[in-house]
């Protein structure tokens, strides 16, 4: 997509879709730069919840009545939309869960207990979020396997050669974050998967921080499992996605027992439902799933404003939307990195050229926690802490970092306010 097309959409139009961005905090207009923790929601997603509860709330799948049919139709449509978002082969490879953490734990337990044995190795990178470490540690303890960290460079990239040399027949599974929530690094998952497959290992890609920023294609990278944290990608809280290859999901036992995941139940033996239901025990987060559908629609609508209009498919609209988002956010990231680096005492954490959405840093004499509080007093929301990446903090030799994380609605003016607020912090503490 050429630049002329990309300029057809201005960020102020996007901002108008997010009501919360009007908020005033401590007397200043809110600058929301905590998108890595959770994104804000467009009006269409907020309305989808309201509409659902006012006019079609009912349990799905089992009801012959009117409301249940409407709810079921919307619910099923959302699955197809997510299939398009991920370019999965089949809609039934899309499993709805309670969140990215739940998705990862599902794989770890249902796939892991079947396939990981004593003596086997599980590789996860040093920059993983706790969800992609602790869940494997729990499994490793249960079955007697080992979790080995894949080292990273000072710039915050995977040490690819080391990774390759760590792969062996003992490697049963690799857990790798697509985009690091602490560094912003975009990892070369396609290459990493190819190498892992060569030794017969399965790869789980944690896409929590990728999905809001880039077009995903699970088939192109050949991911075995791919997980989403939907509240980080403009959808409601309490909903996640697990994509898994049909063949892998088919062989896995159920993770949880309950309604909807069975075929027949008796005290003499129970048989399980087909995909995706086998892994969706109990009443799902119906409103959340419908809101997720609305979030994908919202992303597609961004693309529609840029592309040929009504004749474009949802996939094409998503292509266009993410072209715009990547372009917009790359500009902000470059601009912000430069401006922050110019502040004396600032150390940027995560300086890979392959980066998306994250501006993380430390400031010599000031603890990130204090940075966060002072910025908040200026109406600027960032996050300070270990970002659920303690092993990474240890590797970086810092107790914590300050992290500004972007979304499609952020602006240069907001980056400017961030930068001058950090300068104020510096003055205050020196």
């Amino acid at each position: 997509m050429n630049t002329a097309t990309l300029t057809k959409l201005d960020v102020t139009q996007v901002r108008a879709d997010f009501p919360i961005l009007e908020t005033v905090v401590n007397g200043r207009p809110l600058v929301y730069l905590d998108n890595g923790a959770t994104s804000q929601k467009p009006l269409s997603v907020i309305r989808s919840q309201d509409d659902y509860y006012r006019s079609s709330n009912a349990n799905v799948h089992r009801g012959v009545h009117h409301l249940s049919q409407i709810a079921t139709r919307q619910f099923d449509l959302a699955r197809e939309k997510v299939r398009v978002l991920l370019n999965a082969r089949h809609a039934h490879e899309v499993i709805f869960t309670a969140g990215c953490t739940a998705s990862i734990n599902l794989v770890v337990q249902a796939w892991g207990r079947l396939n990981v044995k004593a003596g086997d190795e599980i590789l996860v990178s040093t920059m993983e979020h706790h969800s992609n470490i602790v869940s494997w540690q729990l499994l490793a303890e249960q079955v007697g396997a080992t979790v080995r960290p894949i080292p990273i460079t000072d710039e915050g990239e995977i040490e690819l050669d080391t990774y390759r040399s760590m792969l062996s027949e003992r490697t049963k599974v690799v857990g790798i974050v697509h985009v690091s929530n602490s560094l912003g690094t975009v990892n070369p998952v396609k290459q990493m998967i190819e190498w892992a497959h060569a030794v017969g290992a399965v790869v789980l890609v944690d896409g929590a921080q990728a999905a809001p920023h880039m077009r995903i294609d699970v088939q192109a990278v050949d991911a075995d499992f791919y997980t989403l944290s939907c509240h980080k990608m403009f959808a409601p809280t309490g909903i996640g996605v697990l994509y898994g290859k049909e063949s892998l999901l088919d062989e896995m036992p159920p993770y949880q027992g309950g309604g909807d995941m069975i075929n027949t139940v008796s005290f003499n033996g129970t048989t399980y439902a087909k995909l995706p239901f086998k892994f969706e025990a109990g009443t799902p987060n119906i409103a959340g799933v419908i809101g997720l559908g609305a979030a994908v629609d919202y992303l597609a609508s961004i693309g529609q404003q840029l592309s040929k209009g009504d004749t474009a498919t949802m996939a094409e609209n998503l292509d266009a939307a993410f072209a715009w988002i990547e372009h917009h956010e790359a500009g902000l990231t470059k601009y912000g990195m430069k401006a922050l680096a110019d502040i004396p005492g600032v150390r940027l954490t995560g300086t890979s050229p392959h980066k998306a959405g994250i501006l993380a840093f430390t400031l010599d004499v000031v603890h990130p926690h204090d940075i966060g509080t002072v910025l908040d007093s200026q109406g600027i929301a960032i996050r300070a802490g270990h970002h659920c990446c303690m092993p990474l903090m240890t590797r970086l030799g810092v107790p914590a970092t300050a992290r500004a994380s972007l979304a499609l609605y952020n602006t240069r003016e907001e980056i400017d306010r961030l930068v001058s607020a950090v300068e104020i912090v510096r003055e205050m503490f020196t």
């Binding site: 089992r62 009801g63 012959v64 049919q69 075929n263 439902a273 087909k274």
Partner: protein
Amino acid sequence: MSVELRELYQEVILDHNKHPRNRGKLEEPTNSAEGHNPLCGDNVTVYVHTKEGRVEGISFEGSGCAISTASASMMTEAIKGKTLAEIEAMFREFQKMVTATGEAEEHPDFGDLEVLAGVREYPVRIKCATLPWHTLHAALQGAEAKVSTE
């Protein structure tokens, strides 16, 4: 009662429901299969006797709603004596009929089966109508298959 509901529960359907044809177990089936709809609990077993590529005998057993019972009953009448290829084609046509979103087309061979077109207004009931057909299909594929419409 609404027009759609009258379309769904036509006299013919209510009659097949009350007096199902070919119900029971076939003496010496060459093939059989069990079908199950876990959402509503309907289940049906279809027995067939094939000879030289033709269905010479067919029957069904099981418990289900009026739609699935009538569908099974009418199916057994419609396919008796037909070749496997003819049945396969009918199965596909039937699926099209009950899911078509546009205007209903005429299906020369269907006879009574036409009345089941009314389910298309009732998405959750479509599986009731197709369950016997899926089960028949599985039976004819060989293998003591278990079919589930979920």
